[in-house]
Symmetry: C2
Subunit: 279 residues, 2 copies
């Protein structure tokens, strides 16, 4: 099948590698708003050629929208207007707004809303890696609004990527990812800022940073061009979780201030419950 990938970065590029590796993609056409990114994707062999959006869609059976989510929201109506029998899928981190955008098109059925639960703190074509998605979960949202053959094709794609599929409505998805992804990024950004603030005082404290610090702060390297639109689109859910998280931190603060170490012990024992979830 000939495939168009719009946005040849971390996710689009990693999908290109996987779909070519599986023998599924006969030709991969790249569309990228950044000429530099497109050229690099071509150079790295992620895509076979670069075309303008209209020509790319016309020549493809599957169009994968893999841009930051604000660009995806703008691009989707254009892509839908160009799409005939093509299947269009997105891979964005929020699902409610893109599904609303899709529903304003008469051919809504050609669109499948998805979110593969994989990423790294890096971005751009050079961040694309082999075997990226294997063993992870992916979400398909509002499946009932998509044509059966379109869903079937997307399910096949995710099967080839080695992912297992979770079906969910878009609103639930956006609540869940606020908890298991978006808040982690905010805590990591805030932790980096906390420590960088201290660095200004001139201490060489980073010599002491070890694995634990690196683990909690690595997401702070993530690209604002991707994350600002996510926080914008998922503002209400992220605020709910952020308020809860600040309340949880204030419990630790109160324990220390009041020297209530029995309760501190309880809070940590409760947190240890995460062992049930993370193996």
């Amino acid at each position: 099948m000939d495939i168009t990938i719009i946005g040849t970065g971390l996710i689009g590029g990693s999908m290109a590698i996987a779909l070519r590796g599986a023998g599924f993609a006969e030709r991969i056409i790249g569309v990228d708003a950044s000429p530099a990114h497109g050229a690099r994707a071509l150079e790295l062999g992620l895509v076979d050629e670069l075309l303008p959006l209209e020509e790319a869609v016309a020549q493809s059976g599957l169009v994968i929208l893999a841009t930051p989510i604000n660009a995806a929201e703008t691009l989707l109506p254009q892509v839908m207007k160009l799409a005939g029998k093509q299947v269009v899928m997105d891979v964005g981190s929020t699902k409610k707004i893109i599904c609303e955008a899709a529903s304003r098109n008469t051919n809504r059925g050609r669109f499948v809303a998805t979110h593969p639960m994989w990423g790294t703190e890096y971005s751009g074509p050079e961040a694309a890696v082999r075997g990226a998605f294997t063993g992870k979960a992916t979400v398909i949202c509002n499946k009932e609004d998509s044509d059966a053959d379109a869903v079937e094709l997307v399910e096949k794609v995710y099967g080839l990527l080695g992912m297992h599929i979770v079906y969910m409505n878009a609103a639930d998805h956006d609540v869940h990812v606020a908890y298991v992804s978006h808040i982690s990024h905010i805590t990591s950004f805030a932790l980096a800022n906390t420590v960088l603030e201290k660095e200004k005082e001139g201490d060489a404290i980073f010599e002491l940073a070890s694995g634990g610090f690196e683990s909690t702060v690595r997401l702070a390297k993530s690209n604002p061009a991707m994350w600002v639109p996510i926080f914008m689109q998922n503002k209400e859910n992220v605020l709910d979780v952020l308020n809860e998280h600040i309340a949880q931190l204030r419990k630790f603060k109160a324990c220390l201030e009041k020297e209530n170490y029995e309760y501190l012990q309880e809070l940590i024992e409760n947190a240890n419950g995460i062992r049930r979830i993370l193996k």
Copy 2:
């Protein structure tokens, strides 16, 4: 050299493996308040035998205090009373209180206060691993209060572990670790509690958890028996950093509430500065 390790868990056990592997430890004597831990350490071959504290110290050239820091504070005066020419070193995560405890002994010079910057979220003898400390930093505090030969022996030990040594006074150490270690644990515990609170509502949200979430929350598995005493002993510094961290989180909250996305972008760009430190 014959070595006593008091506390045969993650750190003590990993040191035993490394010092035996380097051919430095001829005999390793374990002392453990938990008969079960001691027996397991013997079974795993981490230690050659188990002895009561008094006999163990009498038969050793080096005594490594590797218990949780509250136990170390209690044990140190006992060990110092037993120590003649022996060198006594600790490996605890705070340094001010143990150095104060050491200074109350007439033979303060035999004690070297250290903190190897390595650990995992696991504990006990089974958590001990080979090659644990290689390439990491270790801290020696208040070196001037220790005898020259004692410091020399401890430097040799850390050299064998493949660590590079940073010298620092105990008070500065405790400030620095609040930033690069203790706060990471609090954010991770609090994040786990935030998300586990949600789980109570019955959603299967953890199917969606991927690498980013795991990274920021894995420290939440850490043992309260180790961490409550750390937060107690380093209360003032941890509270300072925690207040700063909550203030940083409130900036993100304010950006979302006021839809000030330019400032949100700035906050994230600033956090990206962590790239200068984490390679």
